[in-house]
């Protein structure tokens, strides 16, 4: 009985910490509409700072607490609001999610840079680990009591704030209509900044409180993910109700503790289960608790994607294959394998173009579907043994099929969900898979067959062989991956331009209207989810076989999130956005960090500088992600817009092509190094739009459109010109534009 009570109290304490973290999430979501994935990372940074002050520099504990919770926490929130969150108005869910994911990744990189991850750091409990009191026969640590008290105080405080104070009511109004708030005499910016400051403070508080409970060791990733566990609690309250969030947190904390306490220790998966429990609960809660916020009238978000025509997509696909072929001639085998790996990531990213870019549904765990395909391929698609073992075509097809089915099964319960909720459901699935399946190295016996899903923690996936095609050769591998990417890309472009694509767009824009036209939404969503999972599966399996062997970490949720983020950065509505996201997340990191580490080894005197630049670059990727709010349609969109000025500038384009050809020739013959080739090409690509703009800047003087009718009286002719200049009619012109636009 005492032990039960002890566990209950432990559970309540864990719940209390979840509650503090989750209330912070609820606070920022209700007041800004942004679900903050970086909440955990904020907690982590705050805790590290607290460690630095108290243990690194030996400040008194109370002083560090005041500084971290009272100053650093609010300042971090206010800064986040001013620099980043403010720019996220009128952007799609996926953009908002991706920006906070970028902040999370950036903060983790930053902390690892400042606080070297391999050093051990420990924070202790308040009043020491030995300060205990006895309550009804159960011994409780004072620190644990503090947690409980703080959690209750925070819950009551927030509840009162939201319902009993004008400031709180106004905060809740801010999310729907900041302009209306202005008309009521409030300043929405100040209000939002205040709520971000409060949210951030709660994050920091949760971090400092929870670290000693989990043993005291500080570890950046772990602490960041711990708050992700609190998502489930926040979801109990549908991201709105503080009391329900509090209850949810307590249920979560206690369940986790009981599972740890009472599940037989010889069940190896019980440990895994405990770890993934919050995600299972998150999934269940998402599905069981319906009800959405009331919609404000459909607003047009700032994202703009221009779908390409299938024909122009085909041209660009062919161009891509040719370019990759030429490029491969410059590279050694090692680089080609890396490149091929990136291309397989790009295939995975294509699944996002379809699902998110076209259909508006979110999937935060694309690599998890890749994992499903990899496991299937490994177990059922390999012939031969040792070096002679090969993946068969049937194996690949089977793996893709199984992944599609799994994708459908995951989507099935989540089909009613939209936007953020669906995103979280897929994330829960991804984390669950990582924890339960990809860590499952034990042997099972089913129907008399003994097997283990993930033997030894790594899977050796051999290359594919189809007839004479052997992908053991890196060049063949690269070209196969590229051709597959191009084929799928062209297929998707054709899909988007077809009735099916329009139906997806309709569902994305207004499910109610689509249903009223007779569209069965469940069927459509289900289908597109399966198709997308199949593409991700294909990419994932190729990725595994390109790398030779994979471990569970290759499919971790963090990698998935980075892939999603970079695809959005590139432009999730564009095929080329997928290419960008895949290449950068698949190999960009490796190349960047590798290059600078090589440089550092080669020039020992400059080592620290090169290492710093390498790390800066990694943090910079996260910065790019944060910048997406400025430019939510993606960089590809920007580049394309830049190149619009070049339409018709035949001579300029031809000249550029000639220069590029010469550069390539020089690189091929070894006159210039590959790096020089890359740098000069990049310069050329960037300089072209500038030249185009300069060329276009020599204008014909005419009445500017806004002065029409003022400086010059209205006439039919003028009206016609206005129509033309304001940029809309004439269908053949549109078609032409589309073809120029069809990088995607």
């Amino acid at each position: 009985m005492t032990s039960f009570l002890t566990f209950t109290i432990l559970g309540l304490v864990l719940g209390a910490v979840y509650a503090i973290a989750a209330s912070g999430l609820v606070l920022t979501y209700t007041t800004s509409g942004i679900f903050n994935f970086a909440h955990g990372a904020q907690a982590m940074l705050g805790t590290f700072l607290y460690w630095q002050l108290t243990y690194g520099w030996g400040w008194p504990m109370w002083l560090s607490l005041v500084v971290v919770v009272g100053l650093a926490g609010p300042a971090m929130g206010a800064l986040l609001h001013m620099l980043i969150m403010r720019g996220l108005r009128e952007t799609a869910d996926v953009t908002k999610i991706v920006v906070t994911v970028a902040i999370m990744l950036g903060m983790v990189y930053l902390s690892q840079w400042i606080w070297h991850p391999e050093e051990a750091r420990v924070t202790e409990m308040f009043f020491g680990a030995n300060a205990k009191i006895e309550l009804g026969g159960v011994v409780v640590r004072v620190h644990e009591l503090v947690c409980l008290v703080v959690a209750v105080a925070v819950a009551i405080g927030l509840r009162l704030l939201f319902t009993r104070t004008r400031a709180g009511v106004v905060m809740r109004g801010a999310v729907d209509d900041p302009d209306l708030l202005r008309l009521n005499g409030h300043d929405p910016d100040r209000i939002a900044m205040l709520s971000w400051a409060m949210g951030s403070t709660l994050a920091v508080l949760a971090g400092i409180l929870v670290t000693p409970i989990g043993g005291g060791a500080l570890e950046a990733n772990q602490l960041t993910l711990l708050v992700i566990d609190a998502f489930a609690a926040a979801m109990f309250g549908r991201l709105r109700s503080i009391p329900r969030t509090f209850t949810g947190a307590m249920v979560l904390g206690m369940t986790a503790t009981y599972v740890m306490a009472y599940f037989p220790t010889d069940w190896t998966w019980a440990g895994n289960l405990r770890v993934s429990l919050p995600m299972i609960i998150l999934f269940v809660v998402l599905i069981v608790l319906p009800q959405d916020r009331l919609r404000v009238a459909a607003v047009r978000t700032r994202e703009r994607y221009r779908p390409p025509t299938p024909r122009s997509a085909a041209v660009w696909g062919a161009a891509l294959v040719a370019a990759v072929f030429l490029l491969a001639l410059l590279l050694d085998d090692g680089s080609i394998t890396t490149f091929a790996l990136g291309m397989t990531f790009a295939i995975v990213a294509l699944s996002l173009t379809l699902l998110t870019g076209y259909a508006g549904e979110l999937n935060l765990a694309p690599l998890s579907f890749g994992a499903v395909a990899t496991i299937t391929g490994f177990h059922f698609g390999v012939t031969g043994s040792g070096l002679a073992s090969r993946l068969t075509l049937w194996g690949v097809l089977l793996a893709v099929l199984v992944t599609a089915v799994v994708g459908g099964l995951v989507a099935l319960p989540a089909l009613r969900l939209r936007g953020l909720y669906l995103a979280l459901a897929t994330m829960a699935f991804g984390v669950f898979l990582s924890n339960m399946v990809l860590r499952d190295t034990t042997e099972h016996t089913l129907f008399g067959v003994t097997f283990s899903i993930f033997p030894n923690g790594t899977l050796i996936v051999p290359p594919l062989q189809v007839g004479p095609f052997d992908l053991r050769d890196p060049r063949t591998l690269l070209m196969t991956a590229t051709v597959l990417f191009a084929l799928i890309g062209v297929g998707l472009a054709a899909l988007r331009a077809s009735g099916y694509g329009r139906r997806l767009a309709a569902m994305k824009d207004s499910p109610a209207a689509a249903a009223m036209l007779g569209q069965n939404l469940v069927k459509l969503k289900f289908g597109v989810f399966m198709l997308s999972a199949a593409i991700a599966g294909l990419g994932g399996l190729l990725m595994a076989s390109a790398g030779g062997s994979v471990s569970g970490d290759n499919f971790a949720i963090m990698s998935s999130l980075a892939l999603v983020m970079l695809t959005v950065v590139g432009g999730i509505g564009y095929i080329s956005g997928a290419l960008f996201g895949g290449l950068v997340s698949g190999v960009g990191f490796t190349i960047m960090v590798g290059t600078f580490n090589d440089l550092a080894t080669a020039h020992p005197s400059m080592e620290s500088i090169y290492k710093t630049i390498g790390q800066l670059l990694v943090v910079a990727t996260a910065l790019i992600g944060m910048g997406v709010g400025k430019n939510p349609s993606g960089t590809v969109h920007d580049i394309v817009e830049g190149y619009r000025t070049l339409r018709g500038a035949r001579a300029l384009l031809a000249g550029a092509a000639a220069v590029e050809a010469v550069l390539y020739g020089l690189a091929l013959t070894g006159v210039i190094g590959n790096w020089w080739f890359a740098i000069l090409t990049a310069c050329l690509v960037m300089a072209l739009p500038v030249a185009g703009r300069m060329r276009a800047a020599a204008p014909v003087r005419r009445t500017p459109p806004e002065l029409a009718g003022v400086a010059e009286p209205y006439s039919d002719e003028l009206r016609e010109r206005l129509d033309r200049e304001l940029g809309l009619p004439a269908r053949e012109r549109m078609a032409k534009e589309a073809s120029v636009h069809a990088v995607a």
Partner: protein, 235 residues
């Protein structure tokens, strides 16, 4: 009435959404205690003018004067605190706040919640019955009543109404304008934008016709109404 100094005065006001200029020099005056109706077809710039007056959209040229003072570049929150009460186009309510909380949010200009509630519930009893319902789940007319309530208890100097009658039952339109007329009788000045003149002309002192971002005519309501129908046909 024109001998008094105008309460709100726009001279040569220009405004733009990004690169697209929408107002090309608007001249408009609202005198104390008068009702000015801003009429004109779709896209003429009525709502944009309202936004400029409320401080939601910055001027790119010209002058905005409030009680003789030049207030170009005033923020919406300052304008609200100076007594400009603007009921925007569409429903000017927070959908995820209850009726009462909406009124509470409206006290940002210094009014007291109790006064606001009292004024709103007396004028529109249905709002009193629904005080704990989310504003977003009210019907269109109820939302419009709630939006107008903001003008009742906060004691503004000037009221800006944009398409008040849109989507409202005839009787409710009548009632809305009765309310407005009552406020005017108490000394309030009103600038009201309507696509349809029918509802507002009876209470208007002056009417101004807006076309393509400029006030092309202003004068007595009856005269403008004639011009209005011809400009609709022309534009």
């Amino acid at each position: 009435m024109n001998e008094q100094a105008p309460l709100l005065e726009l001279t040569g006001v220009r405004a733009a959404y990004g690169p697209i200029q929408v107002l090309h020099g608007v001249d408009l005056r609202v005198h104390p205690g008068s009702v000015v109706a801003l009429l004109g077809p779709n896209g003429g710039g009525k709502s944009t003018t309202m936004k400029v007056c409320a401080g939601l959209l910055p001027l790119t040229g010209g002058e905005l004067r409030l009680a003789g003072r030049r207030v170009n570049g005033i923020t919406a929150q300052d304008a609200a605190r100076l007594g400009i009460c603007s009921i925007p186009e569409g429903r000017g309510v927070f959908p995820n706040l209850t009726v009462r909380e909406n009124l509470w949010a409206a006290t940002g200009t210094g009014a007291r919640l109790a006064d606001l509630e009292e004024a709103a519930y007396t004028r529109f009893p249905i709002l009193g019955e629904r005080r704990h319902q989310l504003a977003g789940s009210l019907s269109g007319g109820q939302q419009q009543m709630l939006a107008l309530s903001r003008a009742l208890g906060t004691d503004p100097v000037i009221l800006l109404l944009d398409e008040l009658s849109m989507g409202l039952a005839p009787m409710i339109v009548t009632r809305m304008y009765e309310t407005v007329a009552q406020l005017v009788a108490e000394g309030l000045s009103v600038l009201v934008a309507e696509q349809f003149a029918r509802a507002v002309l009876p209470i208007a002192d002056t009417a101004a016709l807006m076309l393509h971002g400029r006030v092309v005519a202003s004068g007595r309501p009856g005269d403008i109404e004639d011009q209005l129908s011809s400009s609709y046909l022309g534009g």
